[in-house]
């Protein structure tokens, strides 16, 4: 096969398994074990993307998750289209189909690159400055067009068919990072006997060892040591090794989020295997061995394809058998680049020059390069490059001191390697709220004080050398696990000086030269300087103004250089400039992984009553009420909701209706102090409520506003059956528990939720008693024995029942409570018995109309958290003689009895055919224009079939004093005239409740 940049031998990829793949429609060959980036480089493809703002051609600069440029999309099928993947992390599989992003119509010829020519006009803050006015144009014009031109990839258009799993896990020691320090930490921690989890983002564990060539550990080549170490760790029952697993977030109290990618690397994944698993790992101790990230050099034209980080080039060579070029210029301020130059030289790549910023580079790596005859140029800066879609020359200038450079020399090349040194990856440490300190010697921030049970080890805390990373990792693992173990690692490797350079390089190219600091966000030194000139001093402001270090990059390659540039302009030392916050996620996390199984049917629990299936079989239409499914109406034939509800309403009032009220919250209040507790909680007086009697209870918050209501039955002297609204059940129980546990723990009373113990069948209508008569045992249904607002215990068709005589419709009504498992059978028995009596099933919509016809409120519909009992006409329920109840003191505030408070009233539209909108406003006079003086709002509005006209309930300022007044409801078709009427529209005498 013809891959011009592939070496003849070497690398960890599988040369026996060729793989074909496509990029932007063209097919290439690579090997199993390649990344998309390594395979493209092997094929001489340098151009992998266009930059975000200027659409400049960009190649890959890194070899791992720090890659800012080569963002690609991978498509398996129409539904499986993953944008914004780093080509450096995309593992090759047979048939992989990928494409570049942020270019149109093609990567090589991109219309948007006119932005590059126009770049003098797109400075930092351009978006903020230019697109501010007119305000309306932002939503309609600017934002859509900016997004179309600038967007990073696009979304798939079909639902994601893949499976994602979440799981919780616990361990004594979590090690983040599988490089030398992390492996050593795991070896030590495992000896503590506790559970150890090691997570690493790469395909293979080993970190920097995966691209090492000449190091030995304990006398073995590092490759062999790695293989033996991994085998011994894998054999330990208390160790879990996770690869392709990125620790993306450090959450409070040692909870670490890790995404494990399980199938993205497979050509034909098993559909049952999750694509990703999100681990929520709670660790007693965490060892961060996150390594370091190589720093680019900031020089003019430093973003041309073919320019890459020196250690990344070494990784491509040693791990993937790919040469970054054939004739390479190395630009550096750090010894590490010499290691890359030496390896490339050995692989037959011509090193055209090593331009070292330092005047006197020394040390074993430099000496080795000298010995190999590599052309080292001390005190030399790279000051430019040329080339279209790939670099063809480098411009090298001698440094004259004080930021000055001498005459430049042009050096032909097809790749430039750069290194400013290594930046410790303190992202997770910083997320954990650990404090960083500036190290003036290493010119970097290092972890200082931990905020969690955590310790950093190895390169992420500045211990860069292999020997010290191993020792540091082992010590950290031992300390984390409490294992009293020690071990030394005999390492032979060439080590360099850990110090590097930060900030912009000197050059003679003028103010318009583009020296990029943040490749991903297209931020140059010029942008940073402009931001400072315009008055931004805080690094947090500069970050937002210029966008440096934002988005998925999160400052991996850019952070320190940006600080260096800003510090330089501000004439401040870096520690005084400060540091921006490292945000999670470390690298992007898919929505699928975050959602896990919580999608579709499993997004939320769907609560169904014991009678739900019967309603479904009858064709009921359901509505969501909190998590419950409730039957909303039972359409017959082609009926719509309006028609069904009118029929259901009339049937209830003419014959009888049956309604599933099982979702009502129920609380059993039991104990000798039950009545006293009820007295303190509810506004009503309970002491005199007899056993076997019911009362409508109103519950206020301490601020005096109604929060719940419901019928309460007294089962025994020391036992109340309390009902709550459907949605309010958990809240009411929590409120009661709060008072009971924390204010009145001396009361001998206890609360038990019985919501789901009981199925509740409401039977409402003049025929209700007749239907029940043949079904009950041990209950006298006569009005004398069981009057309105009373209850009896007995049996219905042999099933024990609590039978309440209550009505939420104004009709003769019963509510049959039976244990849930019997709910459906009893319902069906009642249903059968009701057939001769015109029994009709009805849903929540009809229930709402029936109660509105009677002026009964629904808490949360008529009330909005600012209504007192008096506001909604419930003064009669308040036990005025009681010394105290929750909310009583607040109700005594003068503001609570102001005459202009909004009060519940009925409204009739002048035209009975017009049904007001719920939520519509009320005004006193017609013809107002905004801003109008609003005096109220409609809370409930229906067409009442029995009345043959519309009805509405409303909260109107001083409403009860306005009975008979004409008011107006402004609407899009004009002011609708209404008249204020009493709240009870139907059967105002209340005769029907007695059958």
């Amino acid at each position: 096969m013809n891959a011009p940049f592939r070496t003849a031998a070497g690398g960890r990829h599988d040369r026996g398994r060729p793989v074909s793949f496509s990029f932007d429609g063209k097919t290439y060959q690579g090997f199993a074990g390649d990344t998309l980036a390594s395979a493209l480089l092997a094929n001489g493809v340098c151009l992998m993307g266009r930059s975000f703002k200027y659409h400049r051609p960009r190649g890959v600069i890194a070899a791992g998750s720090d890659e800012p440029n080569a963002l690609v999309s991978v498509q398996r099928d129409a539904a499986r289209y993953a944008p914004n993947l780093r080509a450096t992390q995309v593992e090759l599989y047979e048939g992989l189909s990928s494409e570049s992003q942020n270019r149109w119509p093609s990567l090589a010829f991109d219309v948007g690159s006119v932005n590059n020519l126009a770049s003098p006009f797109i400075p930092a803050g351009f978006y903020y400055k230019t697109f501010m006015w007119p305000r309306k144009a932002w939503d309609r014009f600017y934002e859509p067009n900016i997004r179309a031109a600038a967007g990073l990839g696009r979304s798939p258009t079909e639902a994601d068919p893949d499976r994602y799993l979440n799981r919780y896990a616990h361990c004594e020691v979590l090690v983040v990072g599988g490089g030398p320090a992390g492996l050593a930490a795991a070896l030590a921690a495992a000896q503590g006997g506790g559970r150890v989890i090691l997570a690493d983002e790469q395909t293979e564990l080993g970190g920097s060892l995966l691209s090492a060539t000449d190091a030995t550990i304990d006398g073995k080549p590092s490759d062999d040591w790695l293989a033996e170490t991994l085998a011994s760790l894998a054999a330990l029952p208390n160790v879990t090794l996770l690869k392709r697993a990125t620790a993306f977030g450090y959450f409070a109290h040692n909870m670490i989020g890790v995404t494990e990618r399980l199938t993205d690397h497979l050509a034909a994944p098993n559909a049952a295997t999750p694509r990703e698993r999100l681990w929520n790992i709670r660790a007693k101790q965490v060892v961060l061995a996150a390594g370091s990230i190589e720093r680019p050099l900031v020089f003019p034209d430093n973003d041309r394809p073919g320019i890459l980080l020196a250690d990344a080039a070494r990784t491509y060579l040693n791990r993937y058998g790919v040469k970054p070029g054939k004739r390479v210029v190395v630009a550096t301020g750090h010894d590490g680049a010499y290691r890359a130059a030496l390896d490339l030289h050995r692989a037959g790549v011509e090193i055209a020059a090593i331009a070292d910023l330092r005047p006197n580079p020394t040390g074993p790596l430099v000496e080795a390069a000298r010995a190999a005859g590599l052309p080292i140029r001390p005190a030399c800066a790279i000051t430019g490059t040329s080339g279209g879609l790939r670099v063809i020359t480098a411009r090298l200038s001698p440094i004259k001191g004080a930021g000055q450079v001498g005459p430049a020399q042009i050096v032909p090349c097809d790749a430039v390697l750069m290194s400013g040194g290594f930046t410790p990856s303190v992202h997770l440490f910083s997320q954990s709220r650990g404090k960083l300190r500036w190290d003036q010697d290493l010119l970097t921030y290092l972890p200082d004080q931990s905020a969690e049970q955590e310790r950093s080890a190895g390169a992420c805390r500045g211990r860069f050398g292999l020997a010290e990373a191993l020792a540091d990792g082992f010590a950290a693992g031992a300390a984390a696990s409490g294992a009293e173990v020690s071990r030394t690692f005999a390492v032979e490797a060439l080590e360099g000086d850990p110090r590097g350079v930060i900030g912009a390089l000197p050059h003679d190219r003028g103010v318009n030269a583009k020296a990029f600091v943040d490749w991903q966000n297209d931020v140059t030194t010029k942008d940073l300087k402009l931001a400072v000139r315009e008055g931004f001093q805080s690094i947090e402001h500069i970050k937002r103004y210029t966008t440096t270090g934002m988005a998925t990059d999160q400052g991996k390659t850019s952070n320190l250089n940006a600080l260096g540039v800003v510090a330089d302009v501000l004439h401040k030392p870096i520690p005084e400039v400060g540091l921006t916050t490292f945000r999670m996620p470390y690298t992007p996390v898919t929505f699928g992984a975050l959602a896990g199984l919580a999608r579709g049917d499993l997004f939320d629990p769907v609560r169904a009553t014991p009678i739900h299936d019967w309603a479904a079989e009858q064709g009921a239409v359901f509505e969501d009420v909190s998590l419950w499914k409730r039957a909303r109406y039972f359409p017959r034939g082609s009926e719509d909701m309006e028609a069904a509800v009118r029929r259901e309403c009339v049937s209830v009032r003419a014959g009888c209706g049956i309604f599933d009220a099982s979702t009502l919250g129920k609380i059993e209040v039991v104990g000798p102090d039950a009545a006293e507790f009820m007295n303190r909680m509810y506004v009503n007086a309970w002491t005199k409520l007899g056993v076997g009697k019911c009362r409508y209870g109103v519950l206020c918050r301490e601020d005096g506003f109604v929060t719940d209501d419901g019928v309460v039955g007294r089962i025994a002297k020391d036992r109340f059956h309390v009902t709550t609204t459907t949605g309010g059940a958990p809240r009411v129980l929590g409120m009661m528990e709060d008072y009971l546990q924390t204010e009145w723990p001396d009361l001998n009373v206890w609360l038990t939720s019985t919501t789901e113990q009981w199925a509740v069948i409401a039977l409402q209508g003049p025929n209700a008693r007749r239907i029940l008569e043949g079904l009950v045992e041990g209950i006298d249904l006569s009005p004398e024995a069981l009057p309105h607002m009373s209850l009896a215990e007995g049996r219905i068709r042999g099933v024990p029942t609590r039978l309440f005589r209550v009505s939420f419709s104004g009709e003769l009504g019963f509510e049959i409570n039976v244990a849930a498992d019997h709910g459906r059978a009893v319902w069906e028995a009642v249903w059968a018995a009701g057939q001769p009596h015109g029994l009709t099933p009805y849903g929540t919509e009809t229930m709402h109309v029936l109660r509105a016809e009677k002026g009964f409120i629904i808490v949360g519909q008529e009330t909005d958290g600012t209504a007192t009992p008096d506001d909604v006409g419930l003064t009669w329920a308040v036990g005025k003689a009681k010394p105290d109840f929750v909310g009583k003191r607040s109700l005594a505030r003068p503001a609570m009895s102001e005459p202009d408070r909004k009060q519940l009233v009925g409204l009739y539209t002048d035209d009975g055919a017009v049904v007001l909108e719920e939520g519509a406003q009320i005004v006193a006079t017609a013809g107002q224009t905004p801003p109008m003086r609003l005096i109220g709002h409609v809370t409930s509005s229906y067409y009442s079939a029995v009345l043959g006209r519309s009805i509405a309930l409303a909260m109107v300022s001083g409403g009860r004093a306005r009975l008979g007044e004409s008011l107006y409801s402004p609407s899009p078709v004009g002011d609708i005239p209404v008249k204020v009427v009493p709240t009870v529209f139907y059967d105002p005498e209340g005769a029907r409740v007695n059958g």
Partner: protein, 187 residues
Amino acid sequence: MDKTLAPNAARGALDGFTAAPALGLAAACPMTRFVLRGRAEALAAAEAELGFLLPRQACRAASLDGRHALWLGPDEWLILAPLADGPALGEALEAAMGAHPHSLVEISQRQTAIVISGPRATGLLNVGCPLDLDLAAFPVGMCTRTVFAKAEIGLWRRAPDSFHIEVWRSFSPYVWRFLEAAGAEYA
């Protein structure tokens, strides 16, 4: 017309859910349940009637002859008993506790139970449950209310690889399906 419903007319919340042996997932049989609260004298009387001590150690269960008392809170126990014990057990406990301050509420059908057993049990539970289910952290005999995904459950370890899950009736299909979905790759 027969005044009494057929004995098989009762329908549990998990009727129609088929056990999934590959996942070790099964519905428990119906049983009698009470929540017991009360002051010391009442608890002593209940213990005398039950014939065993209510566990006073947090998050532990005690059992005798098919009856179990699960610690739910410092003065709250879930009593589980065979279905046949039914109302008689409640009446006996009420009689024993008499006027001593207490609350005994039957909740037999408020909740239902799922049993998950086998080598995958802890792994499947940890898809939705945030607790450490290692035997050292959650030993046999431990019981507690906790959460499973978006539902509250009672979790009781009855053997190293077997858990009894108490879950409110209307949440039980959700918990069952979630466990099934969590183990889809093994089914």
